[in-house]
Amino acid sequence: MLIKSIFGGKSEMTESASKKCPVVLMTRIRLARNLSDTPFPGWAKAPQRQEVLETCLPAVASLSQMKRGITAEVEELTELEKQILVERHLISRELSSAPEKAGIVISKDQSVSVMINEEDHLRIQVIKSGYRFKQAWNSVTNVDSSLEDDLDYAFSSQIGFLTACPTNVGTGMRASAMMHLPALVISNQMEKVVRAVNQLGIAVRGLFGEGSDASGSIFQISNQTTLGESEEEIIKRLSSVLKTIIDQEMNAREKILEKDPNKLFDKIGRAYGILQNSHLLSSSECMNLASLVRFGVDLEMFPEKTRNIVDRMFIECQPGHIQHHTGREIDSQDRDAIRSEYLRKQFENIDKPVFAIDETPKPEDQPEAERNEDSKD
């Protein structure tokens, strides 16, 4: 039931193709909030956790943003359901292994999700495809304010929202952008970028957050500090770092095309060949192939519609999704076979890449303000 509705609806994660975003795949903001007068989830006793869940779950589920959404206690979910939610970035790994009395509410369009009794009582998250911090912030702050109508938050005028971990205190906000940086990876510049960015109080992680690898050349870039600046200031600072990284990536792309186009064409051509013909594909190989094809789409070697297929690959080639797609218990070898079968079908009708590059790519990612988009959420 749960999974069906997740797969049925459009998701911000998989539909970014409609927007022209060569580098920023998606934008995400989450707020950490706690109820006043109750210990934080990690220290609370079972009855206290239960009380928090009983207070928060209906309060969140009744929000207008959550109309016809999904509401569940984590204990009710199967392992596979939890894995799929993690792969879609709708819940954290921490929540999926939460001891008991944890909950999740997900909006119908899967852009808003609220976790209950994770590290904090409430983790409110909004995901937007492309580079849209402004819309993500408007949306997340609306959910937050509506919840605050009913719930008393733990707050200090000195140090802001009080969170279980002092690294989140203040705004309780973590803003992040999922960036696709194939040229920086190919030209071995990522380490340099990570080091420079870290010094500015900005963190770089892999696709699935802390400790995950950066397969597919996808990186999560987020603010590390939450106290001493307003939300707008944090987002502004993060955006200026993101802009620099976008510029670096675009420069690296130009340089590769200038210096050694054949090396790149070879990689992209092989990726296309493998996707059309392979019979066993692991999820990490699949991520790297998807990354190369996406790079090819940016360079107009493939038709624009291919971007959508590739962006879905990043999510739907994850083990949990393949498992669900099959509908029966399978081991990883079978998964690799099924994954490649699915991709052969996807790439069957994709024309082979055009290796004539007349123009160098121009950065098209721009913050929402300059793109003058519809900001109603």
């Binding site: 707050f155 929202f161 001493g228």
Partner: protein
């Protein structure tokens, strides 16, 4: 083989060697296993925050002097030891309880020490209302006890007024 180091706290052989770099200064501590465990530093995952808690220059001394070792949160029973182990707090009150440990740490991990962002206006409004109401109610009791009925009547009217204005606000 070199002579085994002695624990900085007792005379047992040191098996836990901790090197910290704080503000480009290297600090080394050698501890035996039981002292290390007592100080809660054997868990590598939980120690990153504790690094920040030890002020540069007195790492060894502070470890040796557990002045605040007995610090416990009145509200939720969370201990300093637990905090050092996990880097997390037990409840909102812990921020006051462990303030002496937290302030230097917060300064080290954030851009500033004062919140400049969003304020939960409704939560604060309700809190102000409740605080005001309970203070008026105790004024009322006091006035009645002292048989100052004019004051009591005035406070009673204030309470009625406060409740009325808040209700109209909520009714919007």
């Amino acid at each position: 083989m070199a002579k085994p180091l002695k624990c900085d706290l007792c005379d047992d052989a040191a098996t836990v060697h901790l090197t910290q770099i704080v503000n480009n200064q290297i600090h080394k501590i050698d501890l035996c296993e039981s002292c290390a465990e007592k100080k809660g530093i054997t868990d590598p995952n939980g120690y990153s925050l504790a690094d920040l808690l030890v002020k540069p220059g007195d790492s060894a001394e502070e470890t040796a002097e557990p002045i605040e070792g007995g610090l416990v949160c009145d509200e939720c029973g969370y201990t300093r030891r637990e905090f050092k182990k996990t880097g997390r707090l037990g409840c909102e009150q812990c921020y006051d309880t462990f303030e002496s440990l937290l302030s230097p740490a917060l300064a080290g991990m954030h851009k500033g020490e004062r919140h400049k962002g969003k304020v939960p206006a409704r939560s604060l409004e309700r809190k102000t209302y409740e605080d005001r109401l309970s203070s008026l109610e105790s004024d009322l009791q006091l006035a009645i006890q002292k048989e100052q009925y004019e004051d009591a009547a005035r406070v009673r009217d204030e309470i009625i007024e406060l409740k009325k204005t808040t209700r109209t606000e909520e009714g919007k």
